[in-house]
Symmetry: C2
Subunit: 450 residues, 2 copies
């Protein structure tokens, strides 16, 4: 047994991830020591309540409610409490005490990242956050180190397991959103309050972190355009399937050429929304609660990183990878992950983004309607790539026995566009809705990855 120096590790939080991290630190001590070049001594675990039930059986004497004292004298502090306060306060305290910090707290990084990274810089400490970017999927080191000699053009990520599980079941079973959500909640795949997942907040937090890393730009959460999946219904999935697509909630981080007042400028767009992805795209085969991050780089071409996006023990693996890195740097010198904002590119609002769209309309089925729609699109600088018109069966008399409201025959128009500016597209759809020939705008979905 090599005679290693001992590093003192403080753990804040013993929830689903924290208890697994503690268990692995205790169980794999010798192996971790060999890898880190230092013995990692779990000095204690700060929790709110000493008596709360834990996922992993841990020695009772490790627990304390006094986080402040635990932090003092620690070499590495692992923050897995979540939330903003007191997590922020403890992390700053740890950095100022000379400790390196490992955290999985994406909400905190999105809101107080600059403050935390600056505090770390001031004292020469490092902040590691692999588990905050895409759960267990190793994405920080590939983006920061492996692609350091390359230029990332675009990231498309499936970074929320709950929504991918829901969309995947809707896709494979033709089920409705509400039914699948209820089942997902019963199975523990979705929270009792699913807002953070289904409204895209969780994905937006991760998108901000991925974009910061890829484009060396501080990306605050407010700069991320966000739409959730509550509007996705069975008919939409069905239409997507018919057209060779699958609906995925995507986090898209993209380097774009933005038409600013004084000429084109390099900028980035960060956005989260349900999008149509071609069935042949690698992201289309990401099933269940799995996550994947698809990266397009100038030289490397297309890369994809796939794995579990959440889960206590899976996320614990990412946290421990960071702990070992922090220990190595403690022993051998060098710097940790840190933050880079040297490019500091402008972040554009969604209106400046260019993508392809699929627009589904219900229109009156009479002469001249298609011409009107086509003209409106053309005037709005939206170019049509494909169009499919189908007659909608005349509605039967309703359940109450009344005659249908309208006697005019109806048609469904599915229009695939070439690349168009979001602002143009959105103005044009407004005009179509008010044109008199369009009865209903059924859906407008972006097409990504083709």
């Amino acid at each position: 047994m090599t005679d290693y120096r001992t590093l003192r590790v403080a753990l804040l939080g013993a929830g689903a991830v924290g208890s697994q991290v503690a268990g692995l630190l205790l169980r794999h001590g010798d192996e971790l020591a060999d890898r880190a070049g230092a013995r990692l001594e779990l000095a204690g675990i700060a929790v709110r309540s000493l008596d709360a039930p834990r996922d992993v059986d841990l020695p009772r004497e490790l627990f304390t409610t006094d986080a402040e004292s635990l932090i003092v004298g620690s070499d590495i502090v692992i923050e897995l409490m979540g939330g903003i306060e007191p997590a922020r306060e403890y992390i700053l305290h740890a950095l100022n005490s000379g400790a390196d910090v490992v955290t999985a707290n994406k909400a905190l990084l999105d809101t107080h990242g600059p403050e935390i990274f600056e505090a770390a810089d001031q004292v020469g400490a490092s902040v590691y956050y692999e588990a905050a970017a895409a759960g267990a999927i190793p994405i920080i080191r590939p983006l920061r180190d492996s692609l350091a000699g390359d230029r990332v053009r675009r990231i498309m990520g499936i970074v929320n397991g709950t929504t991918n599980y829901i969309l995947d079941r809707m896709d494979t079973e033709g089920a409705d959103f509400a039914d699948v959500l209820a089942q997902a909640q019963a199975l523990g795949y979705a929270e009792a309050d699913p807002t953070a997942d289904i409204e895209g907040y969780d994905a937006a937090q991760k998108a901000a972190i991925l974009a910061s890393l890829a484009f060396h730009t501080a990306v605050p959460l407010e700069a991320v355009h966000r739409e959730g999946i509550t509007g996705v219904d069975a008919a939409m999935i069905d239409a997507a399937t018919h057209a060779g697509y699958v609906v995925k909630l995507l986090a898209v981080c993209e380097r774009i050429e933005d038409a600013a007042a004084d000429g084109p400028r390099e900028a980035i767009s960060v956005r989260v929304y349900p999008a149509l992805v071609p069935r042949s795209h690698p992201l289309a085969s990401v099933h269940g609660a799995n996550n994947a991050v698809f990266v397009e780089a100038e030289a490397a071409g297309s890369l994809m990183f796939y794995g579990a996006g959440a889960g206590g023990v899976q996320t614990a693996s990412a946290v421990l990878g960071d702990v070992v890195s922090a220990a190595r740097h403690h022993i051998a010198g060098g710097v940790g992950v840190g933050e880079s904002t040297r490019a500091n590119l402008p972040i554009v609002p969604i209106g400046h983004v260019t993508t392809r769209y699929q627009i589904t309309l219900e229109v009156d089925d009479r002469t001249g309607v298609l011409a009107t729609v086509a003209n409106t699109l053309s005037e709005g600088r939206v170019s049509i790539a494909t169009v499919e018109q189908t007659v909608i069966d005349a509605p039967e008399t309703t359940a109450g026995g009344e005659a249908p409201a309208s006697e005019i025959p109806m048609a469904r128009l599915v229009i695939g566009t070439h690349k168009a500016l979001e602002q143009d597209l959105s103005d044009t759809v407004d005009k179509l809705a008010a044109s008199g020939v369009v009865e209903r705008v059924v859906s407008v979905l972006r097409v990504e990855g083709d």
Copy 2:
């Protein structure tokens, strides 16, 4: 513009990868300086012939035939010549001159890795080799850093683009091996002499590197069991499809419990062969010349890394990532990738490996044959999971008008086994072949990933 220290970079070789590396170093100088924290000055490019044509237009004054002089005084030496000598000699010379080394030379690492890593250790220099493991796919840092707190159980890699291209086209088009190979050669996907690819040598070299990294064990190339894809025919692909599988050339690196004389011991197996992969497995969707590395770790669960396995500019991205890492370490201290052999696990021969198999036999279609086959398997400790017997149509008279050789009706037997020891399986198949009831052993394929 920040005032960076300048690091002198020497490039050895200006082939498909080398010329792209040079081009990117010259073109993205400012951006690379920001990322590396040092200006990377391309001091020269050592080549055999000054007048050979290059993929990238490069300043003529950079070229030299005097590699030795170029190396002296360099901070980072990039070796992209390939082959053993003089690459080995130059790398040792570079390390002994105090330079860090970046290489994509898998053949050299497999044969002289220990000597090179020891030389680096002696002088405190580092050797980086991301591009040697899986082309442009970032896999070294995930394995070495991100998973440093975890234990890798198994790696299954599609690490050779040529063979994946061939097998994928055979799968999607029902084409024959020879036809697809000829087309692949015409398109430049396969070399004029395709041996290194189709016989699995290239995949075996990468498997050795991946296994070394994942299991902290020196894996010489001789320890890798290797079978190529020349025996894969259209009928085999057809049968695989029928059974829900796809045939892929896999590099499998696995931690196993080996039954040694003095009781079970932890060991590893490293092997390359065409295997059946379930169509629902993420590796099954890796099409064309793409590569992917599927990693199963104890805590992180299943991860997959996907991308281009080869290509000049793609591989150059991986090389430049290493160059930036080397530069950062030069400036900020710390150690590079290096080698770890601390676990030094025994590597078992193929006979000790346990997998599932699919055995296809042509048997006489008469009473008692299935019983004989089942008994032979059972006596050989091979347990049957699935069996499918189909009658083979009686052969028509041959082209020459002769009567068929045999009048006995024949059946085809496709047997899926439970997990069995390779040695048992192979002995049993020999017995079946000699049993008198089996006319022909059509194929024996391992099943991986289910």
